[in-house]
């Protein structure tokens, strides 16, 4: 399924967060949204899932206008993995993943639903956690549970808001490999917010670099993640090398530090 964003604008009463955002993500593509803190990345994702209503602009999910879709319809097509998730009441992992089936069921869960939940759990390789309390798990494990929940939803589009920021490098690459597998093998379109530019470079088909609510650069990772762009947007000098055909970014110095040392 495709996602298209046209001239999107979003503001809170006293601050403009998103300005003239244009995106075009084709089926099975993996798009990373990068940018400094406060650039509007999460807000953009929340607009695409319909959690926030933009003041202007149109979002198309598979050619259909998002604002004209019911939330239950959106939920059948788009899965969302929030930055963090908590539950004040005790919930077991299996039940948490089962919540992902909600858009498809009315009240009772069928054998098929349970099977799908178990498969999603297996896909995320967290079978051993199935009967544990969600709140007892580590941040990384919780993240995997939440992704499993989004998979149980059987979405055609997956929106992930910093899916790996809580994870150690082993889990980071595990999760990214899975997201990649979903997009290449199963043609699931994925849009994710990431902070790690190397992850963005290595795993995504396209990168959108955001700055002050606008898209500063948009295209293939090697076109977007250039020394010049990173320097302009983040204010950090970097050196870019190539390993195995993918760009790797090594930060050198933040410009503010340099200014301080030279002063």
């Amino acid at each position: 399924m495709t996602v298209k964003v046209e001239q999107l604008e979003f503001s809170y009463p006293n601050a403009k967060i998103l300005d003239n955002i244009m995106l075009d993500v084709s089926m099975g593509e993996c798009l990373s949204i990068v940018g400094p803190n406060g650039a509007g990345k999460s807000t953009l994702v929340k607009c695409i899932i319909g959690l926030l209503l933009p003041q202007d602009g149109v979002i198309y999910i598979d050619g259909e206008e998002l604002s004209k879709m019911k939330s239950s319809e959106i939920a059948k097509k788009v899965g969302y993995v929030p930055q963090s998730q908590s539950s004040i009441f005790p919930v077991k992992v299996f039940e948490m993943v089962l919540l992902g089936r909600s858009p498809h069921i009315l009240w009772a869960s069928s054998e098929e639903d349970l099977l799908k939940v178990a498969s999603a759990i297996r896909f995320m390789n967290i079978e051993n956690l199935s009967m544990r309390q969600f709140n007892e798990l580590s941040g990384g494990q919780q993240q995997k549970v939440i992704i499993a929940r989004a998979l149980a939803q059987e979405p055609k589009i997956l929106l992930l808001d910093e899916p790996i920021s809580n994870l150690d490098i082993k889990h980071q690459s595990e999760v990214m490999e899975l997201v990649k597998e979903l997009s290449t093998e199963y043609k699931i379109t994925s849009i994710m917010v990431v902070h790690d530019l190397n992850i963005a470079s290595r795993y995504s088909d396209k990168v959108a670099m955001m700055h002050n609510g606008q898209i500063h650069a948009y295209g293939k990772p090697e076109e977007v993640l250039t020394e010049e762009n990173i320097s302009n947007v983040y204010g950090v000098d970097v050196e870019i090398g190539v390993i195995g055909g993918k760009s790797y970014i090594v930060p050198l110095k933040s410009r503010r530090n340099r200014a301080e040392t030279s002063a």
């Binding site: 004040i88 009441f89 005790p90 299996f94």
Partner: protein, 366 residues
């Protein structure tokens, strides 16, 4: 398109292969067992309750009275005093205890996830303080919307509903979150408590005592007439709330998650709160403030069977019903013929059990 009809969830697995599914089903069975156990406990309690009370009635006479009402041709009626004590006092009072405990516990079970706060109860939206003020207004000033038997009850009901409606209207404000709703509810409760105290301060001694008695809560109005009013309310509200359990599960994990999974959070939250407040108002206008069951029964239930609301709602309803009816039995008989207010007894019995369960609870819950 057929390919991405999620082959990753259909990798040739069969149910017997999956220990997770087996375990989940086992858990589900445990939940159902809990429901049945509590239901049986209520029935057993009922069979005992009809035989005990301030009036000396033998077990045989008690059952003779019930049998006669059910099969008047087969079973001979006992003397009138006995028949009335059993059929017009003990049975309706027991049934009212079960039903009222059930309603309070269910509205607590709904309020807690709806507001995502374990301290929420049926009274979070100021329902009880509104009812208390309404009752006080009638008892002390003599002013009421209702007439006859509805004199105090009607006023308590109207004022409690009015209070929660005022609070719910606030929630239309954009800035309203579950936390600000609770704060508003607490603040308005203080306002009505103050108004109640003011009336008591100027009230006559007798009337003031009446208010105190009302505020303590009792099942003295547990009659067939009361049941005729409460039961239909129960029949309308409880199936609706149980039906909404899945949405409630989602709201409990966060508004964003719930919205992303297709729930219209705002509308669902308001409608659930209206129904839960209505359910509470409808019962406490007869009993006075007995709120503890509504706070605690859902928690005890969650400690035992987890927090899937499809089970928590019916199970905490049954548990609340059992707790209230049991407490009332103790309250009526412990220093017979003095009948203690049931509100006092519920807390005396419920709190130690609750604290014990919290202490031995395994982590990961709250």
């Amino acid at each position: 398109m057929e390919l991405n009809k999620i082959s990753y969830l259909n990798n040739g697995l069969k149910i017997p292969d999956l220990p997770q599914v087996v375990e989940y089903k086992k858990e589900t069975k445990r939940k159902v067992t809990f429901l049945i156990v509590v239901l049986v406990a209520i029935i057993l309690l009922g069979t005992v309750v009809v035989t005990i009370g301030p009036l000396e009635i033998s077990v045989k006479e008690a059952y003779q009275a019930i049998g006669n009402k059910m099969f008047p041709r087969l079973i001979e009626a006992p003397e009138d005093l006995v028949a009335n004590a059993v059929w017009l006092v003990r049975i309706p009072r027991f049934l009212a205890g079960v039903l009222i405990g059930c309603c309070l516990a269910i509205s607590g079970a709904v309020m807690q996830p709806v507001l995502r706060n374990p301290m929420a109860s049926p009274f979070t939206l100021g329902v009880s303080s509104g009812a208390g003020f309404g009752a006080t207004l009638t008892i002390i000033v003599g002013w009421s919307i209702g007439k006859g038997t509805w004199l105090v009850v009607g006023n308590a009901f109207i004022f409690s509903m009015a209070t929660s409606i005022v609070i719910l209207m606030q929630s239309k404000q954009k800035s309203m979150t579950p936390t600000t709703m609770i704060l508003t509810g607490v603040a308005i409760s203080y306002f009505f408590s103050a108004a109640t105290s003011l009336l008591q301060y100027f009230g006559e001694a007798m009337a003031t005592q009446g208010v105190v008695f009302w505020l303590m809560g009792s099942l003295a109005k547990g009659t067939w007439d009361t049941l005729k009013f409460i039961f239909p309310v129960f029949l309308v509200c409880v199936p609706y709330l149980t039906y909404k359990a899945r949405d409630l599960n989602l709201i409990g994990t966060g508004d964003d998650t719930a919205t992303a999974l297709g729930v219209n959070v705002k509308r669902t939250r308001i409608s659930l709160m209206i129904i839960a407040s209505f359910l509470t108002s409808a019962v406490i206008c007869f009993t006075g403030t007995i709120g503890f069951v509504g706070l605690v029964a859902p928690h005890i239930t969650r400690i035992i069977i987890g927090s899937d609301n499809r089970f928590v709602i019916p199970a905490s309803g049954l548990l609340g019903g059992f707790m209230l009816a049991f407490s009332d039995t103790i309250a009526m008989n412990i220093i017979s013929p003095v009948i203690l207010p049931v509100g006092i007894m519920t807390s005396f019995i419920g709190v130690p059990i609750f604290v014990y369960l919290i202490r031995r609870m395994k982590g990961g819950g709250y």
